[in-house]
Every structure is written in structure tokens, then in C-alpha cells.
């Protein structure tokens, strides 16, 4: 589903983001990417979203070269990818419901779909009773759940999560990971970056280990080794 072909990224000032990265993610896989800060995890995800261009090499989503897509095709690709971030990125002046409804609207969904899907998704992430809460009225874990709800509401083929549990306590982290597992079980491919050893060991799925922009390990049933 995702194929990195000798991808390198050099930022201005000779900062290496990625160095000759090649790997493949199959449909339905749950891949964790681990590594120190600055190892290139976030750059990797930004490449998939088409937010960053590689200096050399190609990134493919199915058969499409992401960085050769036109202005009209890139948004269509992004609609097939859900994304979750450590800093959540909810809109502070919109309620949980509105935050999710907003992304459906942006993706061109109808009002009927919005009215039925948003409560369903919030129920799925365990926030069925907090539809009309604003982000500042929610806890960190709850906010992250809204963000996950937002990422999956358009039924993406791929979910990418950049340290979604980075700011959460162990209990919330566990619950978030359970949600991810559920999402993966219904067939969504997931790429997750994390610092959390417990998360990796609990998942027992494929792990890519990055160091200085390179993939140094690729374990089928991974452990956290750094």
C-alpha cells in the first residue's frame, strides 16, 4: 500500500531528515515506527501526506507517486488518509461534534451523512456523551480521542498517527492503543510513531526502528530496541 523507494530528504543547512529509506507497508498492516527525536519519524509521515517533498527517491501510495500528484489529486489522496498528531490540532472554537463535522464537510460529505456518522464515531472512541464539549472542556485523553474520531470518520484506508500518546498517562495511552487496534481489526492500515516502549511491547506488531534518518531495524513481531 505504501512504498518508500530510496527516499532521502536533506533540509536546508545539510540537516538530514531521511537517508535512503526503502520499505513497504502492506494493506491491513499495523506498523510502528520508533526512534529518538530527530531520527526522521515525523518526516516519514509528512512524506506520506505529501506535505514534504523528498530530495531524491519516490513515495508511492498504491500505484500513485505521491509527489507527482497534481493540485486536484493530492486532496483526494489525503481523504483516504486519516491523521492524528501529538498536539491533537483540534479547532478550539468548535465542539467535539463540530470538529469532526468540519472535516466531513471539507471532504465534501452531505449533511445527512454528517448527522449520522459523527455521533457514531464519537461513540466508537468512547465520547458518546461529550458531543457538545469544547476541546478545553475535555481532558488530554478525551481530546486525542476526538482527534482519532476525526481521523477515521471519512473511513480512510490508512491511518497515520504521530506520537498520539506522547502527552498521555499510561491508562489513557492504553485505551488509545486499544482504539487503534480496533480500527486496525476492521481493515484499516495504521502507521504509528511512538517513544513508548510499553505500547510497542503490548502491540506485538511490526516495528521499524529509525536512527539518523535511516531504517536500522525492521522486525516482524517487534520489540522496542534502542
Amino acid at each position: 500500500m505504501i512504498y518508500f523507494d530510496q527516499v532521502s530528504k536533506v533540509y536546508p543547512g545539510e540537516m538530514v531528515g531521511l537517508a535512503d529509506v526503502t520499505f513497504t507497508v502492506e494493506p491491513g498492516e499495523f506498523v510502528s515506527v520508533v526512534g529518538h527525536s530527530g531520527a526522521g519519524k515525523t518526516t516519514l509521515l509528512r512524506m506520506i501526506l505529501g506535505e514534504d517533498r523528498p530530495t531524491s527517491g519516490n513515495v508511492f501510495f498504491e500505484s500513485a507517486d505521491i509527489h507527482k500528484l497534481g493540485k486536484r489529486e493530492l486532496p483526494l489522496l489525503r481523504r483516504r488518509i486519516g491523521s492524528v498528531f501529538q498536539d491533537v490540532r483540534l479547532l478550539p472554537n468548535k465542539t467535539a461534534f463540530e470538529n469532526i463535522a468540519f472535516t466531513m464537510e471539507a471532504a465534501g460529505r452531505t449533511d445527512d451523512e454528517i448527522a449520522s456518522d459523527v455521533p457514531y464515531v464519537l461513540e466508537l472512541v468512547g465520547l458518546g456523551d461529550k458531543l457538545w464539549h469544547f476541546p478545553h472542556e475535555l481532558s488530554g485523553g478525551e481530546r486525542q480521542r476526538v482527534a482519532i474520531g476525526r481521523a477515521i470518520v471519512n473511513q480512510p484506508d490508512l491511518l497515520i498517527a504521530d506520537e498520539p500518546t506522547g502527552n498521555l498517562d499510561p491508562l489513557n495511552t492504553y485505551e488509545i492503543i486499544q482504539i487503534f487496534k480496533k480500527i486496525n481489526d476492521i481493515g484499516t492500515t495504521i502507521i504509528l510513531t511512538t517513544h513508548n516502549k510499553g505500547v510497542i511491547d503490548d502491540l506485538g506488531k511490526r516495528v521499524l526502528t529509525m536512527e539518523a534518518g535511516q531504517v536500522v531495524r525492521d522486525d516482524k513481531r517487534g520489540r522496542y530496541v534502542l
Binding site: 493540485k71 489525503r78 490540532r89 471539507a106 476525526r150
Partner: protein, 282 residues
């Protein structure tokens, strides 16, 4: 708000220039209407000679009308003009009638004056050699028209320069306003982009903002133009009665309205487009 204000000023000036050029045009027409060639004959030229020249001039296709003023009429006109000046009247008594007859020739088209003047000039030239020289003086007001045309041309240049400066300024201010709006909603924009919102979905609202600013500004400037035309009319009635800008404004309201509306929308769209291109990349 600042962008609406500058757009209003720009459109107001554009409207004024529009009206101003209409004013100049009609003034020019008025004056061109009054332009004619006046041929003054020598006092001793016989009436038959003058009238025969008149006949030949009338036959010219370029000539629309010829008015004959006899030397007696000319004298009467002069007396009438100077009836309060006893000194002039008195000296006139002593001299007798110093005036020659006159032909006022009107051309069908202002550009024809040259031809007619040439024709008369040739006749005058022939006459000069022989003894039957009758034309004393040939004057036509082409110089005035030329001067007026020059004034209009240079005033057009100045107004085009002013409009360009204003258009650029208003676009820059509007770009700033819309850039600020984009900056304020940068979080929304980044989320929209991540969930794959289309180009128009992200940029549309800012485009609409520019268009609305343009529409409001054009309406404001139309409202402002009305008192301005009234003021111009009141200021110019004494100087020049020919044109009434207020009635011109009300008669051509639709046309002016559409021109300003279109310019306003165009300016707004250009400004939003520039701002979006710079700050709201997809």
C-alpha cells in the same frame, strides 16, 4: 474595513474620472459645434462677388451651412456691441462703414475644416494676384480646438496615472486585510488541508471576502459620487452652462453602476487571489 475604505476611494476616483472625461467630451463637442470658419471680405468687395463665392462654398460636400452677414449687418452688430461707448460710436460716424461682409461657414465634421480652409485659401491666393481680390481675412478656431484636445489628452494621461497608483494601493491594502484573515484561520486551513479539502473549499471563503469588499466599496462610491456631481454642477454652472453632470450621472447610472461594480469585484478578486496564492498554499 480598511480595504473597503481604500477600495471605495479608488472606485470613487475611477467614477470621477469617468464623469470627468464625459464632461470634457461634451465640452469639446460643444466647442467644436461652435467652431466655424469666418471669412471676412474687404469693405469694397462687391456683394455679387461675395455671394458667388458663397454659392461655390455651399456646393462643397464638406460644408453643412453657410451664413452670410452683409456689411450693413456687421456694422449694426458692432454698434449694438458698443452702444455704451460713445467714443467708438462717434469715430464710427466719421469713418463710415469700415466693415466688410462676412461668411460664417460650418463644416459637417470638425476634420473637414482643414479642407474648406484650404479651398478658401486657394481662392484668396488667386484673388491676390489679380485686382478682384475680395477676401481680407480667413480665421478659423482650429487652434482653440487643438489646444482643447491637448488639454484633454494630457488630463487623460494624468488621470490614468492617478488610477494606476490608486488601484495598486488598494490592491495592496486588500491583500493585507485578506492575508490577516488567512493568518487568523491558519489552524482551520491546516486541518482542512490534512483531511483533503479541495482547493475551492479552502480558498473560496477568502475569494468571497474579496468580492464582498469590492461590492460594498462600489456601492459606497456610487453613493459618494452623487453629492460630488451636485457640487460640480453648482460650481460650474456660472462658468460653463453646457453640461449637467448630475443629469449625466442619473441618466448613465446603470452604466456607471456596472462599471464600478465590475471594477470593484475585479480588484477584490485580484487581491484575494494574490493573498491566497501567498499564504494559503494547498
Amino acid at each position: 474595513m480598511a480595504s473597503v475604505l481604500t477600495l471605495t476611494v479608488t472606485l470613487f476616483v475611477l467614477g470621477s474620472l469617468l464623469l470627468g472625461s464625459a464632461f470634457l467630451d461634451s465640452t469639446l463637442n460643444n466647442i467644436q459645434d461652435k467652431v466655424d470658419i469666418s471669412v471676412t471680405f474687404l469693405p469694397d468687395a462687391s456683394e455679387e462677388a461675395v455671394l458667388s463665392l458663397k454659392e461655390s462654398v455651399v456646393l462643397l460636400p464638406e460644408v453643412s451651412a453657410v451664413e452670410y452677414v452683409s456689411k450693413e449687418e456687421e456694422l449694426a452688430l458692432f454698434r449694438e456691441r458698443h452702444k455704451d461707448n460713445s467714443l467708438i460710436i462717434q469715430s464710427l460716424e466719421e469713418v463710415g462703414n469700415p466693415f466688410g461682409a462676412r461668411l460664417n461657414i460650418k463644416a459637417a465634421n470638425p476634420s473637414h475644416y482643414e479642407t474648406i480652409a484650404n479651398f478658401l485659401g486657394n481662392r484668396a491666393g488667386e484673388g491676390a494676384a489679380s485686382t478682384d481680390r475680395i477676401i481680407d481675412n480667413l480665421s478659423f478656431k482650429k487652434d482653440i480646438v487643438d489646444k482643447l484636445l491637448k488639454v484633454i489628452a494630457s488630463s487623460r494621461k494624468v488621470s490614468v496615472a492617478i488610477s494606476i497608483v490608486l488601484v495598486v494601493t488598494s490592491i495592496m491594502v486588500t491583500v493585507n486585510t485578506i492575508s490577516l484573515a488567512i493568518y487568523i484561520s491558519r489552524d482551520e486551513i491546516s486541518v482542512m488541508r490534512l483531511v483533503g479539502a479541495g482547493d475551492m473549499y479552502v480558498r473560496g471563503p477568502f475569494m468571497v471576502e474579496g468580492v464582498i469588499a469590492g461590492v460594498i466599496a462600489s456601492i459606497f462610491s456610487l453613493i459618494l459620487l452623487y453629492p460630488a456631481t451636485v457640487w460640480v454642477r453648482n460650481a460650474t454652472t456660472n462658468v460653463y452652462g453646457g453640461v449637467n453632470l448630475v443629469s449625466y450621472y442619473t441618466e448613465h447610472f446603470g452604466q456607471i453602476f456596472l462599471t464600478l461594480l465590475f471594477s470593484g469585484i475585479l480588484l477584490g478578486v485580484i487581491a484575494s487571489w494574490l493573498a491566497i496564492r501567498k499564504y494559503a498554499k494547498v
